[in-house]
Symmetry: C2
Subunit: 333 residues, 2 copies
């Protein structure tokens, strides 16, 4: 099969590698021509995934025309706030039915739409198959071939199975689910909790506090997810608990790195001035706060992170409130 991976960050590059190892021909689209050129000349992605040699079946481009002409199956892995624009460009350059896999973990801020909703809005009748892929999948490890398991969620079983067939292998196991809402909400919201985990680290706190935060974090994500129509089991699964644990305890992700900076007294704008990486959790904390308000769901950790990020609240005060408030009762879902 021919697959166009749209977005050549670390996760996009890793998924291109995984797909190519599975005997697919992959065109990897990079927004930045320098990234595409570097991939073509070095057979690796020195900007976002160094140390991984890309299989011969991966080629790179920065031309959306080329990407659109290459395949009718797009694996979208661009920052959530650019997803709609990029997908519209692809739509305008193609005709006929399209398959879209989303690896983007976020919520569009203005519309509060998840990527499935954005995809439907952009493609309408031309969308033949949509799957959201999520789970504990650090790019470097997945591309190296470390045993990795994730979920692909689709309302259409046949579509989920098609995506499984494209990407699943002995070291990259993909389970299907019909809970698109749950998988998308879990994938997006965990980045907010990851920022909070970073704040704890920045404040010099230990594993006990982080473990309590992760537990309560999954609790509030689950509450929101269920209110939006997601299924409880999804949040206890790979896309929920699995990805949350990975992001809060594994290597320092961009979201956790931001949290560490906040915990050490930096502001969001200071952090953003120093780094070009996108921390999805910043936008997601805003969207999640809005969704929580709309649905009358209490999300103490998310709310505190919103205040720290957007209202310059002190992380120490936020933490104090969390310790006395969010941990009130153990099992009030």
């Amino acid at each position: 099969l021919r697959l166009a991976v749209i977005g050549a960050g670390s996760f996009g590059t890793a998924m291109a590698t995984v797909a190519a190892r599975n005997d697919n021909d992959v065109l990897l689209w990079a927004h930045d021509p320098r990234v595409a050129d570097a991939i073509s000349s070095t057979r690796s992605n020195p900007f976002y995934l160094p140390d991984v040699t890309l299989p011969d079946r991966v080629h790179a481009t920065s031309s959306l025309d080329e990407a659109a002409a290459f395949s009718d199956t797009f694996f979208m892995i661009v920052p959530s706030q650019y997803y709609r624009g990029v997908l519209a460009e692809l739509r305008n350059r193609t005709d006929g039915l399209l398959t879209v896999i989303s690896g983007t973990k976020g919520i569009e801020n203005e519309t509060l739409e998840r990527m499935s909703g954005v995809t439907r809005a952009v493609l309408g009748e031309r969308l033949s198959c949509y799957g959201a892929l999520s789970g504990p999948t650090f790019a470097a490890e997945a591309s190296k071939g470390d045993p990795t398991a994730a979920v692909v969620a689709s309302g259409d079983l046949e579509c989920a199975q098609r995506i499984q067939h494209i990407l699943s292998s002995a070291t990259f196991r993909l389970y299907h689910s019909d809970d698109v809402v749950g998988v998308e909400i879990a994938g997006a919201l965990k980045n907010v909790i990851a920022i909070a985990a970073g704040v704890l680290e920045g404040l010099g706190l230990g594993y006990n506090t982080t473990a309590a935060l992760i537990t309560r974090g999954l609790h509030e994500i689950t509450r929101l997810g269920i209110a939006l129509g997601g299924k409880p089991d999804t949040f206890a699964g790979l896309a929920g608990m699995g990805d949350l644990v990975l992001t809060c305890t594994g290597s320092l992700s961009r979201n956790r790195m931001l949290g560490v900076a906040l915990g050490k007294g930096k502001t969001l704008s200071q952090f953003l001035a120093e780094t070009r990486a996108v921390a999805e959790g910043v936008k997601t904390s805003k969207a999640a706060r809005d969704l929580a308000e709309q649905h009358g769901i209490e999300m103490p950790i998310t709310t505190e992170m919103y205040r720290v990020l957007y209202e310059n609240e002190s992380p120490t005060h936020a933490l104090q409130r969390l310790m006395t408030r969010s941990l009130k009762a153990e099992s009030s879902r």
Copy 2:
């Protein structure tokens, strides 16, 4: 209040510290007179919790007579296989009603009893209040005063509240639960998954694989716990997910250390010959396997760990089977 903490390992010493900070007078009983002497002379526990200075209100002894005379409230934190014997000694040296808090995380191997059952069997009518304390509570952090949250489970709300009153503070928050079964099973079983997490580390695998293991591990613990009468929410809470995440991703616990050694090709007996620390997960894997068989519950990770520990199965083979088997379907509880 006067509290006797029975067991002066790292967790016992930490709980003695937490209780003393809360204005209780604490007598800490150590099995080994050298430990009691060292505590008395250095005001710390150089064997099991160095770097922590004990509050003045903590005193140490290796005499069970003294411990029995000191209080009618015992906080039992001894290895599970010694719990019955030590508690019987205390019973024989006291009369009247007793309160028992259990911080022991394990299952008695011959009887497959949890500590609540052992306590009831030993004390009978003399047991006035029993609570199981569990959660993500690394000893060094809890005694340092890092924000820590745990659960105390009791069938008797008033008893749970009494224990909360003894131990809860701003930095050590104790939530009550009525699910003794769930809290005890979660606390015991997580040590088996921690050994498995260590095996993955020993084999050189990364965070993706560990996150999947933790997710599936909680799944099978939950299945067993529910079959035994536990409540699903407990496993999603601090004593379930929280403690599991801590033990599998935080500092190297004894159980994970054992797993690392196994993953690097050592056998259980080689490991035991080199260390005097008790890895509760070894005994628990056997008890859990027996319980799973009794109740017809599939516990693939626990079963594989049992084989690795007791039947010299190769960790690599065990892992291969897990990757192809336990991750079969995402949400089959």
